[in-house]
């Protein structure tokens, strides 16, 4: 634990020049509600499952926040969810598949757009309505169109279109440590702090990734493979970027609705790292040499 009067992070905690290389991705926010907080959460968890990385998932998704009755369109408990995909078409497909299979199927739920419908939107209720087999009902209220789809516990209500924005994906922090348990503890605390930042999600399990990847592989079919430079047990076999004392690295990936949100989350993670610096060797970030992503989030600028 950090002594209470530690004067900020030590100078070499953040690796000099480290930056996260982030990409634009099309993003949307959903609000899922249900009769009880438990069912709302169940729906949200189910629909954000298997959505860690677009390397092999249709989208990156996560629960942004749990919402109470005063915060949802229908006055029921709910959760807000962010989803990210490479294109609006891919996002539309992913969201409607996920809502169709994971929210519509979940008892008592309803699903709303959590972003204003600007000029760029995706159809969700507009696609799912066909499940109603002709018995779906369109309803316009307050300038929004909803679809009411008859189901076995009454009807599933879903907004027709969801607003999208250009989001930022691939923000990240990598915690390097000597003791795997201590390093994980820092990552957990950092993830908790970062999750409280609005408009971001941490798509990996518990917010933390342990299998960071590099682009490409010796196997032609693979687009990505293990990040050998960060794999401590390969030290000596391949070139490594890990300081010699490091035997464990954990990565937190951040997807946000804006660059500011991703930076805020990164900063929150760094603050935790600073507070727990005696459990870490260093904090760094993953990038591709700065050639691929337009957004470079320099860690030093955020301290």
């Amino acid at each position: 634990m950090t002594p209470p009067n530690t004067p900020g992070p030590r100078p070499n905690l953040v690796e000099p020049g480290a930056f996260a290389e982030a990409f634009p991705m099309t993003a949307t926010r959903l609000v899922v509600t249900a009769d009880t907080p438990a069912w709302a959460l169940t729906a949200a968890q189910t629909m954000t499952g298997y959505a860690t990385s677009v390397i092999a998932c249709d989208a990156e998704a996560g629960i942004e926040r749990v919402l109470d009755e005063s915060e949802t369109p229908d006055g029921r408990p709910g959760a807000s969810i962010l989803l990210f995909a490479f294109s609006r078409d891919a996002l539309e497909k992913a969201v409607s598949n996920r809502v169709g299979q994971c929210v519509m199927t979940c008892p008592t739920t309803a699903c709303y757009s959590g972003l204003p419908a600007g000029e760029k939107t995706i159809a969700v209720g507009g696609r799912l309505r066909y499940f109603g087999d002709g018995w779906q009902i369109s309803k316009q209220l307050g300038g929004k169109r909803y679809w009411r789809i008859p189901v076995m516990d009454g009807e599933f209500l879903c907004e027709e279109t969801f607003g999208t924005v250009k989001g930022v994906a691939g923000g990240n922090l990598i915690f390097l440590g000597e003791d795997p348990r201590a390093t994980l503890a820092v990552a957990e605390s950092a993830a908790a702090a970062m999750r409280s930042i609005p408009s971001v999600i941490l798509p990996f399990p518990g917010g933390i990734a342990r299998s960071g990847s590099k682009v490409g592989s010796k196997y032609k079919a693979l687009r990505a493979s293990t990040n050998t430079a960060f794999a401590p047990m390969l030290r000596g076999q391949v070139e490594t970027t890990l300081p010699s004392s490091v035997r464990c690295a954990y990565e937190i990936v951040i997807d946000g609705l804006s660059l500011e949100a991703v930076e805020d989350a990164t900063r929150a993670g760094l603050e935790v790292a600073g507070a727990m610096q005696n459990q870490l060797v260093a904090v760094t970030a993953g990038n591709y040499g700065g050639k691929l992503g337009p957004y470079h989030i320099k860690l030093e600028n955020l301290i």
Partner: protein, 279 residues
């Protein structure tokens, strides 16, 4: 500051006010406004002959300051801005309106919101026949927008309605929702027997405790779907004089008119249907 028009004429003959719109008046000088022609009976006469004009329209608001039951067509084709009518006004208020807001502090005549496709009309008093109805010769009534009436309405309210929301704070006459195509209609008070005849789609919520439906409406059961919660919230945000506590419990759902598609729905308080309770 709003532009105020005070009715100074003694004439009871029909006065067509359809060209007097905030968006049109905005670009005009006081002199030009005074010279705008309105139809009085079968003649065209300058606005100033019937109205005292004061103020300016820099806040986009136009006020008719006095009651004029023979002033018709206020806000016809309106697209933006606000028109306030202080006192009773004539027929066709907000006809073919596409946007903006009309507030009537008093009662409105027949044909309120006729052929309306967008915007918002609020009436503190009553309204006459054919609220949200079709233009003559058309079968399709209101296609969008919101009308709230605190008082009662006459016959054929929301007949042929295609889209939008109409909320009526008190009673409704015969032919309510007749041939409704879609849209949402809420009535707080009593309504004449046989609402929703020949409705194809759309939702009618009737909150009186005694409702009589045609035999071609069939009960589905009592439900409390999410859409009614959304509707209650929308009504509350519109300040409609609807007691939304009724939405807090399951309402009886009837489908009809089975003679015409049958995808319409009428929601009533549980047990409000006279033929049901005594059958």
């Amino acid at each position: 500051m709003p532009l105020a028009l005070r009715f100074t004429s003694a004439s009871q003959l029909p006065l067509e006010l359809d060209g007097i719109l905030p968006e049109r008046v905005q670009a005009l000088s006081q002199g030009a406004i005074e010279k705008l022609l309105i139809r009085h009976g079968n003649r065209l006469e300058p606005l100033a002959e019937h109205f005292a004009i004061s103020g300016s329209i820099d806040d986009g608001t136009l006020i008719f300051e006095s009651a004029m039951p023979s002033g018709h067509g206020i806000g016809t084709g309106m697209t933006a801005g606000v028109i306030r009518v202080v006192g009773h006004a004539g027929r066709r208020i907000g006809a073919q309106m596409r946007g903006g807001r009309i507030e009537v502090e008093g009662s409105a005549g027949d044909l309120l919101g006729q052929g309306m496709s967008g915007g918002r009309i609020a009436v503190t008093g009553d309204a006459g026949d054919h609220v949200a109805g079709p233009l003559p010769g058309s079968r399709r009534g209101m296609t969008g927008g919101v009308i709230t009436i605190a008082g009662s309405v006459g016959a054929f309210a929301a007949a042929g309605m295609r889209r939008g929301l109409v909320a009526i704070g008190q009673s409704a006459g015969a032919g309510l929702g007749y041939r409704m195509i879609a849209g949402t209609l809420v009535v707080q008070g009593p309504c004449a027997p046989n609402p929703g005849l020949e409705m194809k789609r759309g939702s009618i919520v009737l909150l009186d405790r005694a409702i009589e439906l045609a035999p071609t409406f069939r009960k589905a059961g009592a439900f409390r779907p999410v859409f009614l919660r959304l509707l209650a919230r929308e009504l509350a945000s519109l300040n409609a004089t609807i007691d939304i506590r009724a939405f807090g419990m399951p309402l009886d759902l009837f489908h009809g008119d089975l003679l015409t598609l049958g995808k319409g729905e009428i929601w009533t308080r549980a047990g409000a249907l006279a033929s049901e309770t005594q059958a």
